[in-house]
């Protein structure tokens, strides 16, 4: 492990340093350090732009202009906000559990930053190509739960605690369908390493064969990041601000930044797992292209999530839980079973491509089979849901009629009807 | 592996035989048994049992009724068809007996050897597979009719399916432990089924009685199994009794066996033969030597059984290991097939539904006991040759117990008035026949009688069930249009007073007068008095159980049923004749005759046990014939003694069909089953039925043994004996009960003949129940209360704890005192420590889990230290 940690983050740098007369060990160390710095600093910088984008889009959706004063197109608005947050007074409520209270935002930030270690930006640029990259992603992001709970508990505030409870309910629940959905691409690739997963999609993006799991992953990501319509953790109307109600100053800023970053990160992973990551024309030869491909794809995912956030109303907590346990989890499991079965079928039919097959046509038949399976699943689910809905509506209608009838009879003088 | 190949492999097939019924049990009990609570007075309630009155009973919904019946039937049928297939496969195996159908798989790893569980189809299994599934299927069909009105029909089918499954498991088992499993499951099922109508106090008392009684025996049997496994390392039948024992020098062994058993012959001969000891001894000696030679030369295999025959047993130096094991196993059999003195549970088992009685008495449970003995027979006779008068202790035990049981049960049966009780005691007696036959080495004869008896006894029970059913039918009829045409009813004698219960009260009153005290009378017409409660209590039960005082099982209430129930009459007649051993045409005759022939053969050689068996069994056979005739007469002959009897019939439709069809089928077997065992040199018939040198049945069964048994040859005297006893008994019965049948209210001529006291004693079964209550039940209750609870629990355990506590508190105080007058300035750490330890010891009983865990940890530490020190690796360490 330790020897594999320093794969080519900026492998272009080390040789220069060595040429510049540095000891190779030192060069490796420096380059690694730089790489780590870069990989962890990049999202922090990115956040500022993300927030700007978000505010702009929200504004557009709500028919406003949005930030437009500070800097061109209000680009510097967030810098100003950040400065404001930093210089604001940092209040720690009385009776708060200081240690935890202060540790929470940092851990929250950490849980997102750590994820970036396994993001393959290009064919060659990746923090660590862990053999269990995907699992790493899941497990590290599960630490975020912890941070939020710590925050909610430590700030010694009822609303905060309620928010924390909801976090446990929501995040832990939604991890289940997410993981199950992620198992499908893993099935296709036969590896947990992010780089392998991306390479596996050079021929065919997984969104085609694993459409259902892609959708499930997207939804559960919305819930994982606690954004609308699943932002019950900080439901302003119910819990004032949820777990971070007591936070102020840069600690609050950290939480906020963390939220945006998390949102972006999960979309990034969606792009990596289902949209082929860096893969694209010429990405193999010119690695830097891959970087742009990746972020373009992520953007295409991120913008809709913002629009969603601006448009969709918040669901009730019970609705959310029901949706997860009664719908997402069963569907994801069904989906997994179906894909596993279809894979065996394609193997039997002999149309399954070899692992790591990069040719589009070679991947096509299996992908089509799986897609057909997905479509069938979706249709089936939809019919079931439609019938259920019909039945419930009918029941409602019947109840209403009965109520009316009852009230009607009540009006009839006694003994009239009996 | 390929499932089809597996299914076509005859070695695998036996696995599937028990599967059907067991599956049926699970399906019914888990899925299809649906019922809704309904007041017992509702129309849905068939009125089958008066015991539900005034309470809500769950009534099976019709759908689940039908489904359960279908499931149960299909289970039984599958078992039957499969076993037929297996039988044919087995008979197709050439040199069957040396090679058998068997397959087994690893069951549990006992460390040294992996214990294998499997199935085995050898000749013995084959005959059981011919008999059991057939009888079971018949019983199932019959139950459709008999339980048609029962509110818990589905449950009944579930239980009886489990019963059948267990029996089939026991039959196809290839090792003693699996057999024991089936055995125990059957025990549970009999408990559940005997107590099937648990609203009746007597019923569940009977159930508990049956369960406990058999349990006593089973525990001892388990001892035997354990000892067997301990001494052989295997429980597989073939490995113990057929295959040569691993690592034995055959020739030397034969030698050694020879003179050894010769010596035993001398001893035994001296002991057994009455006259001229020395001569007898020599005779035995020479004979045995010869016999030994022949056996040795015939089969050059020394099986585990034979080996055990010579190794002395642990603790009991006197007898061989095989002997000890045999005795243990036989006690199990005594319990299971209700031999004296553990027979008490079987008559009470009559509390269960009649199909259950048929199941227990014919197809399954009691046969299982005998079957087990047949299975392990080589172990019993190991080291002895009953045909040469060399008896091992188990054989002696069996001979004595069997003949005593046969005689004693027959005497009781003579005086019973309950139609099912008579059969119950005849069953005990017949089983006594088999056990006795085994005791004198009549392996084939016993097996033969087992099969025939199974057929005609199942038939008899079902027929009696039909009778009872009919009587209840009549009872309802009477209750329905009660006293309206009570008078002008032609059948009803005019003398009957029209009391609350209608006519039937009358004869019972008279009976009561006859016998002075009520409880005896009570015992007479239903089993309540004999549940494991004091007779007085039973009296109350009786009062509360039967709101109306009519007992459809009392033969005194019957009479003349032949008019209304012809089919039942004919079939009952056939079964009865077969039981009585009506010469030449019935199955019972042939099997009994073979047993008696065996006994005769031994007697002529002057062997005591044979003589004993011969005498007892002849008497028993005579009484059998007599009470069969009596039963037939009381039930079917003469005029109806009660109004109910006049209206007794099976009604129409599916019920009657389902109840009569099995009777007809079984009556066929009750006749022809005997012809497979006709001796070859029997005049005329032998030529017809037995072309070969040996009767087909014997030829098949004897292959189950590695040392062949000598074949019987025709001998006129035993045949004459059988003729005399059978015909004599039948004639006497005819004389007493058919020539001038009992009329209503007339008392049983038996009483006048035997005299009141004798009759009452017989009727109360020599007061065995009362004896056992006095000897076992009361003391054990006393023991439980006074010794276990008062003495052990309160006295010892608590006392010990208090003592410990006291001691340590004392030490604590002592040390504190010491410490006080010790130099002051010493910290009070020590006394507090001691005090705390004292508290700690006192608190060993506080329910604080952490303390317990702490103790565990400390114990583990101590053990670890001890281990480390003793193994001395500490020194070995660098």
């Amino acid at each position: 492990m330790m020897e594999t940690t320093c794969i080519n983050v900026i492998e272009t740098l080390a040789p220069c340093l060595v040429a510049g007369g540095a000891a190779p060990g030192l060069a490796a160390f420096i380059s690694t350090l730089l790489g780590v710095l870069l990989v962890s600093a990049f999202p922090l910088v990115l956040v500022i732009i993300l927030i700007w984008v978000e505010r702009k889009i929200a504004a557009r959706v709500q028919d406003r202009i949005g930030p437009n004063r500070v800097g061109p197109y209000g680009l510097l608005q967030n810098v100003a906000d950040a400065i404001k947050l930093i210089i604001k007074e940092d209040i720690t409520p009385a009776g708060a559990d200081r240690l935890i209270y202060n540790a929470a935002p940092i851990i929250a930030m950490l849980s997102v930053l750590l994820i970036w270690a396994v993001v393959p930006f290009t064919p060659v640029h990746i923090g660590v190509d862990l053999s269990i990259g995907l699992l790493y992603f899941v497990s590290v992001s599960s630490i975020g739960t912890l941070a939020i709970m710590m925050a909610g508990w430590a700030s010694n505030n009822k609303y905060a605690l309620l928010g924390a409870f909801r976090v446990v309910a929501q995040l832990v629940s939604y991890e289940v369908p997410m993981v199950v959905a992620l198992l499908v691409p893993v099935l296709l690739v036969g590896s947990l390493s992010m780089q392998d997963i991306v390479r596996g999609q050079i021929g065919m993006w997984f969104i085609v064969p694993c459409f259902v799991s892609a959708v499930i992953f997207y939804i559960s990501n919305l819930a994982e990041t606690g954004r609308a319509p699943f932002d019950l953790i900080e439901a302003e109307s119910e819990l004032v601000a949820g777990y971070n109600i007591e936070y102020s100053g840069m600690k609050f800023g950290l939480f906020m930044a963390n939220e945006f970053m998390h949102a972006f990160t999960v979309n990034l992973f969606f792009a990596l797992i289902f949209l082929g990551g860096w893969s694209g024309p010429g990405a193999e030869q010119v690695p830097v292209l891959g970087f742009f491909y990746l972020f373009i794809k992520t953007g295409f995912l991120y913008i809709p999530s913002l629009i969603l956030r601006a448009t969709v109303p918040r669901v009730r907590i019970d609705q959310m839980m029901a949706f997860n346990w009664k719908f997402l989890v069963p569907v994801s499991i069904l989906n997994l079973l179906m894909v596993a079965f279809l894979l065996q079928v394609t193997k039997a039919l002999g149309i399954a491509p070899a692992l790591g097959e990069t040719d589009f046509l070679a991947n096509l038949p299996q992908a089509l089979v799986l897609l057909a399976g997905n479509v069938a699943l979706i249709v089936g689910i939809m019919t079931v849901l439609r019938n259920n809905g019909r039945r419930e509506r009918a029941a409602e209608e019947a109840k209403r009629l009965r109520r009316m009838a009852a009230s009607g009879r009540a009006m009839v003088p006694a003994g009239g009807t009996d | 592996m390929d499932i089809n190949a597996l299914l076509n492999d005859p070695n695998f097939l036996p696995w599937l035989i028990p599967v059907g019924p067991l599956l049926a049990f699970f399906i019914i009990s888990l899925l299809t048994s649906r019922s809704k609570m309904t007041p017992a007075t509702s129309a849905a309630y068939g009125g089958h049992h008066p015991d539900y009155d005034g309470m809500d009973v769950p009534i099976v919904t019709d759908r689940s009724r039908v489904v359960s019946i279908i499931v149960g039937m299909s289970g039984a049928l599958s078992a039957w068809i499969l076993s037929l297939r297996v039988v044919f496969e087995a008979l197709a195996v050439q040199d069957f007996g040396k090679n058998v159908l068997a397959s087994s798989l690893d069951w549990m790893d006992t460390g040294l050897t992996a214990f294998r569980m499997g199935v085995l189809v050898d000749p013995l299994t084959v005959i059981m597979l011919i008999m059991v599934p057939l009888a079971v299927t018949m019983i199932f069909i019959y139950s459709i009719g008999y339980m048609a009105n029962d509110p818990r029909q589905a449950r009944f089918f579930a239980l009886i399916s489990l019963f059948a499954g267990a029996m089939l498991t026991l039959v196809v088992a290839d090792n003693l432990l699996l057999l024991f499993f089936g055995w125990e499951v059957m025990g549970v099922c009999s408990y559940l089924l005997i107590g099937f109508w648990f609203e009746k106090k007597s019923a569940y008392n009977a159930a508990i009685k049956a369960f406990t009684t058999t349990r006593v025996a089973d525990v001892i049997m388990l001892l035997g199994i354990a000892y067997l496994f301990f001494s052989t390392g295997t429980l597989n039948f073939r490995d113990i009794m057929y295959n040569p024992m691993p690592g034995q020098d055959m020739a030397a062994h034969v030698e050694e066996t020879g003179d050894h058993s010769a010596e035993t012959a001398v001893a035994e001969g001296g002991a057994v033969v009455v006259e001229g000891e020395a001569a007898a001894a020599e005779g035995d000696h020479s004979e045995t030597a010869a016999a030994e030679g022949e056996y040795g030369s015939e089969a050059h295999v020394i099986t585990w059984a034979a080996h055990l025959g010579e190794t002395p047993a642990i603790f009991f130096g006197g007898i061989s290991a095989a002997g000890l094991i045999g005795i243990f196993l036989i006690i199990g059999t005594i319990g299971k097939s209700a031999q004296f003195p553990l027979h008490v549970w079987l008559p009470d088992a009559m509390e269960g539904p009649t199909p259950v009685s048929a199941m227990i008495h014919a197809a399954a449970m009691v046969s299982a006991g005998v079957y087990a003995v047949l299975r392990m027979y080589p172990v019993f006779e190991a080291g002895g040759h009953p045909h040469d008068g060399v008896f091992t202790s188990p054989l002696m035990l069996m001979a004595v117990v069997g003949s005593v049981t046969a005689l004693f049960a027959a005497t009781i049966a003579v005086a019973q008035n309950d139609v099912k009780k008579v059969l119950a005691y005849s069953t005990i007696s017949q089983l006594g026949f088999m056990v006795a036959a085994l005791g004198i080495g009549g392996f084939v004869a016993a097996a033969f009688h087992l099969i025939t008896h199974a057929f005609f006894k199942a038939l008899l029970f079902m027929a009696s069930g039909a009778v009872i059913h009919g009587m209840e039918h009549g009872e309802h009829h009477v209750h329905a249009h009660g006293h309206s045409h009570g008078h002008d009813d032609g059948h009803a004698p005019a003398a009957l007073p029209q009391g609350a219960g209608g006519g039937p009260l009358d004869p019972r009153l008279e009976l009561a007068m006859d016998h002075g005290h009520g409880s005896a009378d009570h015992g007479g017409h239903d089993a309540h008095g004999h549940a494991l409660v004091t007779t007085h209590a039973a009296h109350d039960d009786h009062a509360e159980d039967h709101g109306h005082a009519f007992d459809p099982q009392d033969m005194m209430n019957m009479g003349g049923l032949r008019k209304t129930m012809p089919v039942t009459f004919i079939t009952f007649l056939i079964g009865g004749m077969s039981l009585a051993g009506l010469p030449l045409i019935t199955a019972g005759f042939w099997s009994k005759d073979e047993i008696i022939a065996e006994a005769w053969l031994g007697t002529t050689k002057g062997f005591g046990p044979h003589a004993l068996v011969l005498i007892c069994l002849s008497l028993a056979a005579f009484m059998t014939a007599f009470y069969t005739m009596r039963q037939l007469g009381l039930t079917f002959w003469g005029d109806n003694r009660t109004e109910e009897a006049a209206h007794a019939n099976l009604g129409r439709g599916i019920v009657s069909v389902a109840m009569t069809l099995p009777l007809i089928i079984l009556s066929f077997f009750a006749i022809v089953a005997g012809f497979v065992g006709v001796l070859p040199d029997f005049p005329i018939l032998g030529g017809i039925f037995t072309p070969g040198k040996v009767a087909p049945f014997g030829a098949l069964v004897e292959k189950a043994l590695v040392n062949p048994v000598p074949h019987l040859s025709f001998n006129i005297i035993p045949v004459l004996i059988s003729f005399t006893v059978a015909l004599g008994g039948l004639f006497l019965g005819w004389l007493m009960y058919w020539r001038k049948p009992l009329t209503a209210g007339q008392k049983d001529p038996m009483i006048t003949i035997l005299g009141d006291s004798v009759h009452t004693t017989l009727k109360n079964k020599y007061y065995f129940d009362e004896l056992y209550i006095m000897v076992f039940v009361k003391p054990s209750q006393w023991f439980a209360k006074n010794v276990s609870y008062e003495f052990l629990d309160k006295g010892l355990i608590d006392g010990f704890l208090h003592l410990v506590a006291a001691v340590f508190t004392f030490i604590g105080d002592l040390l504190k005192v010491l410490n006080l007058w010790l130099i002051d300035g010493v910290s009070d750490g020590i006394p507090t420590l001691i005090a705390r330890s004292g508290k700690w010891f006192r608190g060993t009983q506080t329910g604080r889990i952490q303390q317990y865990m702490l103790f565990v940890l400390i114990a583990a530490l101590v053990i670890g230290v001890i281990f480390a020190v003793t193994t001395g690796v500490l020194q070995a360490a660098p």
């Binding site: 330790m2 053999s131 | 702490l854 530490l861 281990f867």
Partner: protein, 175 residues
């Protein structure tokens, strides 16, 4: 005896995590702190797994222990809020427990250092080979019929049963 390289340093850091966290768990009177200490300790364990080149186990440790179990514990602590800060942390037998624990430790250490239990041959200073089975091998081991598929199924059954049992136990009866 052992050269000072990254792995060694990491080992010591993780050991400090483990032991310190464990001590924190048993000593801290505030249960939330205790839970966090537990998490620290578990992180140390995950680090050990990484050092032992079992990355999958490390990830699972983080996912299951920290992501699920620890969260669950914190959740329980929050639910039993009146109990989180107890003045009396230990029961009356704490000293004896400490003694027993120390003895056990002594025994184990002796057992590890000296070949008291079993031979010393099984205590290599270096892995006998650097060929390390991959996560894929682990997966195969779980599902291949001739290895651990049966325990695997049993484990899944156990989890199902536990899920149901937990729901039944913790459900509010009156609601």
């Amino acid at each position: 005896m052992l050269e000072l390289n990254a792995a060694t340093i990491a080992f010591f850091i993780f050991s400090i995590f483990l032991v310190g966290g464990a001590l924190g768990v048993v000593t801290s009177s505030n249960l939330i702190h205790g839970a966090l200490y537990l998490i620290i300790s578990l992180f140390g364990g995950a680090g050990f797994f990484v050092l032992l080149s079992a990355p999958f186990m490390a990830a699972v440790q983080v996912l299951v222990y920290i992501g699920a179990i620890a969260v669950l514990i914190i959740f329980a602590v929050m639910l039993t809020r009146s109990m989180t800060r107890m003045t009396e942390v230990y029961n009356r037998q704490w000293w004896l427990s400490a003694l027993a624990g120390a003895l056990l430790l002594l025994m184990l250490v002796v057992g590890v250092i000296l070949p008291v239990w079993g031979n010393g041959g099984a205590r290599p200073n270096m892995p006998i080979s650097d060929i390390v089975a991959t996560t894929e091998a682990l997966g195969v081991a779980f599902v291949s019929g001739d290895q651990y598929v049966l325990p695997f199924e049993v484990a899944s059954l156990l989890l199902t049963g536990v899920m149901i049992g937990a729901i039944v136990l913790a459900r509010d009866t009156e609601s």
